[in-house]
């Protein structure tokens, strides 16, 4: 049981990394990115490519993947999504779904539908901590995910770009009045979100197999994490990720592994109905209003 808890927390760190990037986009431009999971998938494949063809250690390919994904994300927002920022939110959602289909198709063409795994040389090393076995790789992945989150928090707080992003999130029109190029900020935000997704993909590929249709379930997980933490907020998603990891694994341990997805969905619905502002509580720029 304790072992399951530890595994859940370690997995949760990765979930948090997936959820934060997703939540960032929603907080800044009210966009639910249905292509998020596929961006993660592409990130994983980039690292797979670096490992297999160039012999690059997965942790070293992290920056490679992040840079590639930043460029892809920046261009997608700049060329496509920026054209429809004022459209109906669902049209934008459908648009990201179209992007998702294209990404999946590209992955299918380049890497085929096979399951791929990254077998780093140190993949099977463990160490013992009392009665608990801690897989070294999972611990490293957990730490990397936390470091990335911390880096994002520092970036948002202490750089001019980060503050411009926050200002845009608060009020787009006011941001424009004080000289912020909103469209540019949107593109940079999408780029950052994609870079984080790319990093999450590299970390994910180290602990589980990747395949082109991986995106859908990951997008749902990202959404669950973001809702648990309060959609739009950054630090809530950290808690949300760890809660999801722990609940999924302990639930699977108690009821049975075939219910793992069901548990996540049940938790999502429960939070949406009873506590739409997220576990931590503060309502961000969400549009949830309880009618009647």
């Amino acid at each position: 049981m304790l072992q399951t808890l530890v595994n859940g927390i370690l997995l949760g760190g990765l979930y948090a990394c997936i959820g934060i990037a997703f939540s960032l986009l929603y907080g800044v431009m009210n966009l639910l990115n249905l292509a998020h999971g596929s961006l993660i998938m592409i990130g994983g494949y980039i690292s797979f490519f670096c490992f297999q063809r160039l012999g690059l250690d997965p942790f070293l390919s992290l920056p490679v993947s992040m840079i590639c994904m930043f460029v892809i994300g920046y261009l997608v927002q700049k060329i496509i999504i920026n054209r429809v920022v004022d459209a109906n939110i669902f049209m934008v959602m459908i648009l990201t779904f179209g992007i998702d289909l294209i990404l999946v198709n590209i992955a299918l063409l380049l890497w085929s539908a096979d399951y791929r795994t990254l077998n780093a040389p140190y993949a099977s090393q463990n160490f013992q901590l009392g009665p608990i076995v801690i897989p070294l790789l999972r611990l490293a992945v957990f730490c990397a995910a936390l470091l990335l989150t911390a880096a994002l928090a520092l970036f948002m707080r202490f750089t001019a770009t980060g503050q411009a992003i926050q200002a845009t999130a608060l009020d787009r029109y006011a941001a424009r009045l004080i000289g912020i190029d909103v469209m540019q900020i949107y593109a940079v935000t999408f780029g950052i979100s994609s870079a984080l997704a790319g990093a999450a993909g590299v970390l994910l590929a180290m602990v589980m197999p990747i395949y082109p249709e991986l995106g859908g379930p990951l997008t749902l997980k990202a959404f669950i994490v973001a809702v648990l933490g309060g959609l739009g907020g950054l630090y809530g998603a950290l808690i949300g990720g760890i809660v999801l990891g722990v609940v999924e694994l302990t639930g699977a341990y108690i009821i049975g592994p075939s219910y793992q997805v069901g548990i996540g969905v049940a938790m999502l619905l429960a939070v949406l109905i009873f506590r739409p502002q997220g576990i931590l509580g503060k309502r961000f720029f969400s549009e949830v209003t309880i009618s009647d």
């Binding site: 496509i80 429809v84 179209g98 289909l101 294209i102 069901g262 949406l272 109905i273 949830v288 009647d292």
Partner: protein
């Protein structure tokens, strides 16, 4: 007839007389297509019959999705769950209780509608993205539940007995069932749009708070729209399982199908009667062509199509039709 259409479009718009004439044209167009649908299928091979049945089915699903998303303004992103529930109702009733197929069609719709009321009461309090994703979650949850239950056949699914009919006659039979289903759905949507409930739903789409201030019982009408949407989707699901003869969770609660009818609705134009039908026909025939000619990249082409529609035709194909141009 095409001549008259173009003259009308270029001429000055003269209020209600013009509106009456365009309605007449619309009715004539519908009558023609109905006639074509009744006569032509006799001479088609089973491949095209299958494609056309699929078109009709997506048109039913797009029209019923239109009730909640287009008319009431609540973007349900997991409406395929009602399709799956209808399909499973028929499958379970036919395989385990020997109920005749025709009886199970309305039952499939009713079970789906009851389910819609049950989930609608808590979920329709959510707005915007939250409602969309909650319905997406409901679909995944239903799929998980059906996979884990025993009496639904679990992950293995349910086989039906092969009906005692010659194959081409069977294809024709299913085609006409689906066609009749579409007629019922479209009639339902037209009646709804003209009724008090239809006005209430459109008021909710416009501005829910104002609608409530005007004395509209918003919860009631939202749940009603959801239930009507589920009713037609569930009945389509019943016909679908009879057509396929086999059902398993991944196929009943298929997100790809969900995307197809959402796309059909958006492409055609939401909130209108004809839009979803138009969208379903164009999208299905188009993707059938892509499937058969560019198998490797059909996902990408579909994705590109979605992007182009959103960027350049956000109000759907119906906005390009002559009688709509202003």
């Amino acid at each position: 007839m095409t001549d008259r259409l173009s003259v009308d479009a270029s001429g000055p718009i003269s209020g209600s007389a013009d509106a009456g004439r365009s309605k007449l044209i619309l009715a004539l167009l519908l009558a023609c297509s109905l006639l074509v649908l009744l006569v032509v299928p006799q001479y088609l091979n089973s491949y095209w019959l299958r494609v056309l049945t699929q078109v009709l089915m997506v048109a039913v699903l797009a029209s019923s999705w239109n009730v909640i998303a287009g008319i009431c303004g609540y973007f349900s992103f997991g409406n395929v769950v009602f399709f799956g529930i209808g399909a499973y109702t028929t499958a379970v009733l036919m395989s385990q209780f020997d109920v005749s197929f025709l009886v199970t069609i309305p039952l499939g719709g009713i079970v789906a509608a009851v389910f819609a009321v049950l989930i609608g009461l808590p979920l329709l309090r959510l707005r915007g993205h939250y409602f969309a994703i909650a319905t997406l979650g409901i679909n995944l949850g239903a799929r998980e539940a059906v996979t884990n239950l025993d009496w639904t056949g679990g992950g293995k699914g349910i086989w039906l007995q092969i009906p005692d009919m010659e194959p081409h006659a069977f294809s024709l039979y299913v085609f006409y069932m689906m066609g009749a289903m579409l007629a019922v759905t479209v009639a339902g949507v037209i009646l709804l749009l003209r009724s008090r409930a239809g006005y209430a739903m459109r008021a909710i789409r416009g501005n829910e708070t104002s609608a409530a201030v005007l004395g509209i019982d918003t919860t009631f009408y939202k749940v009603l729209a959801f239930a009507i949407s589920a009713l037609f989707s569930g009945m389509a699901g019943s016909i679908y399982i009879f057509w396929m003869g086999y059902i398993e969770p991944g196929q009943a609660f298929d997100m790809a199908l969900n995307i197809q009818f959402v796309m059909a609705g958006l492409m055609g134009g939401l909130g209108t009667v004809v839009g979803p039908l138009l969208g379903a026909a164009v999208l299905q025939i188009f993707s059938e062509l892509i499937w058969s000619h560019f198998l490797q990249i059909h996902l990408g082409v579909l994705g590109l199509l979605i992007i182009l529609v959103v960027l350049f035709m956000p109000n759907g194909l119906i906005s390009l039709m002559p009688w709509r141009r202003k």
